[in-house]
């Protein structure tokens, strides 16, 4: 098996999910400079809602694709409503408060949503019912499943759709204008409240689909899944340049690749027995084909954070971003 | 002390495609009030921010009190002896007036964490001195009666004074005031004028950005005019007033 190609395929799959979730962070941040911590939880709720619907329909005679579609169709509006309520009830009243206030509110909302989900769905993960015949295709020594293909294609479609919306429609231009300068956009007749609410709603809708994709890729959805997924997607948004829509897409894909390749190779790279010159005590450990692996694939979740920290230290504006540090 | 206090050579600053400052050179003499005027967007505040280390410059050097000024960090500029106020007043809103001024003493004092935790004799002496000096400065700018009020509860004019007191607390040789009269009525402007003249009498050098041309012309020893990021004049007020380039910059082409 070609490990490199396989990891690239896996990385592209998770990366495209990260990208879609990252869009939610970056659009909101672009307009009101708020890290919407609760976005990860919205994504999680999307997955939970869809999984509930899919599970309850799994026994019916409907075709599998229709069942999955029904799940997504339920999750998207549900998340959009949550996104709207979040903005309306929690963030809007704090729009002129000191910087720390909305951030703390966002953390609070994230905890509240997560535990409400725990109340609604319980502690046990929901499993994706075996309704889809997940076919696996061989590509140049690696394997790609139909679910992976579907995730990548759907993500690309959504990213394309959002780009069209943001760059080609009137309302999209209003969003971009507000991201440049929300006050000036307001003077030009853009209704800032509507734009801000729209970024939350669109982000939540995309997030819902991303949640379903992520859940179906790993086969489960769990009330805690939003936390690390959200954190990674946020890292992706920062990597691409927060506030920048193309950046979020690029950052997501890159982060997925880094994570997959890192996880795939870190064990080999930190296996001290594979390094030349093992001596003494270490040599004894390595005898008879032994291994001395410092960091194995169980460090998977570390890569995103390390990437985040490295980006912030060396290129805080991200790959495609312009805005740097605090405004004077 | 007489002679040159600050000498800036060929300061350049660009924001994206906009050349905000273009090879600006100027000299400020010790003990004078130096005015900086120019139409909106001429680059006055940008120059200020470069001098005080808030914006990195693209080119040029600044000599201050005979030494090259480290423009990389604002606190080093303050330590070197340049203090400033802001066009849109920036106080520590939830600290008292007295505390605001005490913060200004930071750069001239030394007590660290361990001194504070152990309340050493040196720390207590220093703390008392900080408080005394802050009190004096509040008296000096005339708002001693508001010492224990939160900065955000002060009137606009008093906030301007408090900002000056905080700047003075850093023991500056050069005090840079960014539009101190903005938004003031005639009485307040008069009082401000007296305050600035008092500062000069006490040996301070003042750099003044101001929109109120009358105030600048009446107060300053010398005036520089910026237009589109370039210095177009630097002279005594009467000469600047008569300078055709200045008149054109202010009134538009063809008016001269």
């Amino acid at each position: 098996m070609d490990i490199l190609l396989q990891q690239i395929i896996n990385g592209l799959t998770t990366g495209s999910v990260y990208a879609v979730v990252a869009l939610g962070y970056t659009m909101v941040y672009g307009v009101i400079q708020l890290i919407n911590f609760a976005h990860g939880e919205v994504v999680m709720i999307g997955a939970m809602v869809a999984f509930s619907i899919i599970t309850s329909l799994a026994g019916s005679s409907l075709p599998p694709l229709v069942i999955v579609l029904a799940g997504v169709m339920a999750a998207v509006p549900a998340c959009m409503v949550i996104g709207y309520l979040l903005e309306r009830a929690a963030y809007r009243p704090l729009r002129h408060a000191p910087r720390l206030a909305p951030l703390i509110t966002a953390i609070g909302m994230s905890i509240v949503l997560q535990h409400l989900a725990l109340l609604a769905w319980g502690r046990n993960p929901l499993a994706f019912p075996q309704i889809i015949d997940n076919r696996v295709f061989a590509v140049g020594g690696a394997a790609i499943s139909s679910v992976q293909i579907a995730i990548i294609l759907l993500s690309l479609t959504m990213m394309g759709g959002l780009s069209w919306f943001v760059y080609r429609t009137r309302f999209g231009i209003a969003i971009r204008a507000s991201a440049e300068n929300v006050h000036v956009a307001g003077l030009m007749g853009v209704n800032a409240d509507r734009v801000i609410a729209a970024t939350f709603v669109i982000g939540a809708g995309l997030g819902a689909v991303a949640g379903v994709m992520y859940g179906s890729y790993y086969g489960i959805a769990h009330y805690t899944m939003g936390f690390s997924l959200g954190l990674k997607a946020f890292s992706a948004a920062v990597l691409g340049g927060i506030g920048n829509i193309a950046g979020a897409m690029l950052g997501g894909i890159l982060l997925g690749l880094v994570e997959a390749l890192g996880t795939g190779y870190v064990g080999d790279l930190t296996n001290l027995c594979a390094w030349p010159g093992a001596q003494g005590w270490l040599a004894a450990q390595c005898a008879d084909g032994g291994h001395f692996v410092l960091f194995g694939s169980n460090y998977q979740d570390v890569f995103a954070f390390l990437m985040l920290i490295l980006v912030l230290v060396f290129r805080p504006s991200g790959l495609l971003g312009e805005r740097v540090s605090e405004r004077a | 002390m007489t002679g040159i206090l600050l000498e800036a050579r060929d300061i350049g600053k660009r924001f994206g495609g906009v050349q905000a400052l273009k090879d600006v050179s100027l000299t400020i003499n010790s003990g004078e009030i130096y005015g900086l005027i120019g139409p909106n967007g001429a680059g006055k505040t940008t120059l200020f921010n470069v001098f005080t280390g808030l914006y990195p410059r693209d080119s040029g050097e600044v000599q201050f009190a005979g030494k090259a000024l480290d423009l990389a960090s604002p606190h080093a500029v303050a330590a070197a002896g340049i203090a400033r106020t802001f066009q849109n007043i920036r106080l520590f809103a939830n600290m008292t007036a007295l505390e605001n001024v005490m913060v200004g003493r930071h750069v001239r004092t030394r007590a660290g964490v361990f001194g504070a935790i152990l309340r050493t004799r040196a720390e207590r002496t220093e703390e008392a001195a900080i408080r005394r000096r802050a009190d004096e400065l509040l008296h000096y700018v005339g708002i001693a009666d508001r010492a224990d009020d939160l900065a955000r509860h002060l009137s606009y004019g008093d906030q301007r004074r408090l900002e000056i007191a905080r700047a003075l607390a850093t023991d500056p040789q050069l005090l840079a005031l960014d539009e101190p009269a903005a938004g003031m009525n005639a009485t307040e402007t008069g009082a401000l004028r007296d305050l600035i003249e008092g500062l000069r009498r006490d040996g301070l050098t003042v750099l003044l950005i101001e929109h109120d041309v009358k105030l600048v012309m009446g107060l300053c020893d010398r005036v520089a005019v910026l237009d589109y990021g370039e210095k177009i004049a630097e002279d005594v007020p009467e000469a600047v007033r008569a300078n055709p380039k200045v008149i054109e910059a202010y009134l538009g082409t063809g008016a001269a």
Partner: protein
């Protein structure tokens, strides 16, 4: 009428007597209550540490529990059969504080020049990284014993007095938790004094100045990066000390004690009590520490009585309370239930 100073002294004396008598009163209701109180005091210590970072300097640290974890693991590794080391606590506690402080500096140095909200997310990630390492550093060399954690950690020992067992003195039985209670009170007292002194110092003013307006603070001659780093390091040290005490009191540490929710809890305590106000933070920490107990004794029986079964786990309810506390405080009382004294002074003046 008594003058203010006299009255204040009398009040403090009364509080002191009450605090000295408290563990015996609690013990009569069950030693469990002494233990619960001890953990509440640990949270007060943590909150006071985080208050330096969030309350004074205005830096949102969401990975604070990582420093708590560092302190706890330093203690656990150096005073347990895991490595066969049994150093005395007065060596390990300062060491734990120093290591936590170092971790704070390493994390803070590259990130503190960035915007505040980036700091929040980086600290969040850092907290996770520390937990992941604790979970996985059992191979190739067993450093942390992984998810199983480290057990049989030494309790404190001062001369002949061991904090694990009971001693009888002057007819009173001093159980282990009661001894820890007094020790915690001493540490708490020291931490309060340190906090108060820092607050009223040149450094404390610089912290608040940065919180209020970073640019003005810079222009006023404050080296904001160093001063922020100092706040971060101080907060981390406090977390390290609290962590060491936690390890000794609990006798067992595992990564599960240092999850993000713990950081959020401490943050909620600081925010609800009143960022920047030492007494408010203490009150907030006590209040929220006892919420779970309160829920356990009210919500659980109430549900069983009403529905015949447990519908809502008190544990879940507790986190909902913490989350809601953050949201509602920011919305309706952004300065907390007990705001900083400066504000209060101001409000009293207005009333007069």
């Amino acid at each position: 009428m008594m003058n203010m100073a006299m009255r204040e002294k009398l009040g403090l004396a009364l509080i002191a007597v009450a605090l000295v008598a408290l563990p015996f009163v609690l013990a009569s209701a069950g030693t469990a209550w002494v233990r619960i109180t001890n953990f509440a005091v640990l949270f007060v210590l943590l909150s006071l540490g985080l208050n330096i970072v969030v309350g004074f300097a205005g830096l949102l640290d969401l990975g604070y529990v990582a420093f708590y974890a560092v302190g706890a693991y330093v203690y656990a590794l150096l005073a347990s059969p895991h490595f066969g080391l049994h150093l005395p606590f007065w060596v390990i506690l300062p060491l734990g504080a120093a290591v936590a402080c170092l971790a704070g500096v390493i994390l803070g140095a590259p990130t503190l020049r960035l915007r505040g909200d980036y700091l929040a997310i980086v600290t969040l990630g850092f907290g996770e990284i520390v937990r992941i390492f604790m979970n996985n550093l059992s191979a190739p060399v067993n450093l942390t014993n992984g998810p199983k954690g480290i057990s049989r950690i030494d309790s404190f020992q001062i001369g002949p007095v061991n904090f694990a067992g009971s001693d009888t003195f002057a007819g009173l039985v001093f159980s282990g938790p009661i001894k820890y209670y007094y020790l915690l009170m001493l540490v708490l007292l020291a931490v309060i004094v340190v906090n108060r002194r820092l607050q009223d110092s040149r450094i404390g003013r610089a912290w608040v100045a940065i919180r209020e307006d970073e640019i003005a603070a810079k222009a006023s001659g404050i080296n904001t990066r160093n001063i922020k780093l100092l706040a971060f390091a101080m907060g981390a040290s406090f977390g390290g000390i609290a962590g060491g005490m936690f390890a000794a009191i609990q006798g067992f540490v595992s990564p599960e004690s240092f999850v993000l929710n713990e950081s959020i809890m401490v943050l909620a305590m600081v925010v609800l009590g009143g960022m920047g106000n030492i007494w408010g933070v203490i009150a907030g920490a006590m209040l929220l520490s006892f919420v779970p107990e309160l829920l356990r004794y009210t919500v659980e029986p109430a549900q069983r009585a009403l529905f015949g079964k447990l519908l809502v786990d008190p544990e879940v309810l507790r986190m909902l309370v913490f989350g809601a506390a953050l949201v509602l405080t920011m919305r309706f009382r952004p300065a907390g239930l007990w705001p900083e004294t400066r504000h209060r002074r101001e409000m009293n003046e207005n009333r007069a």
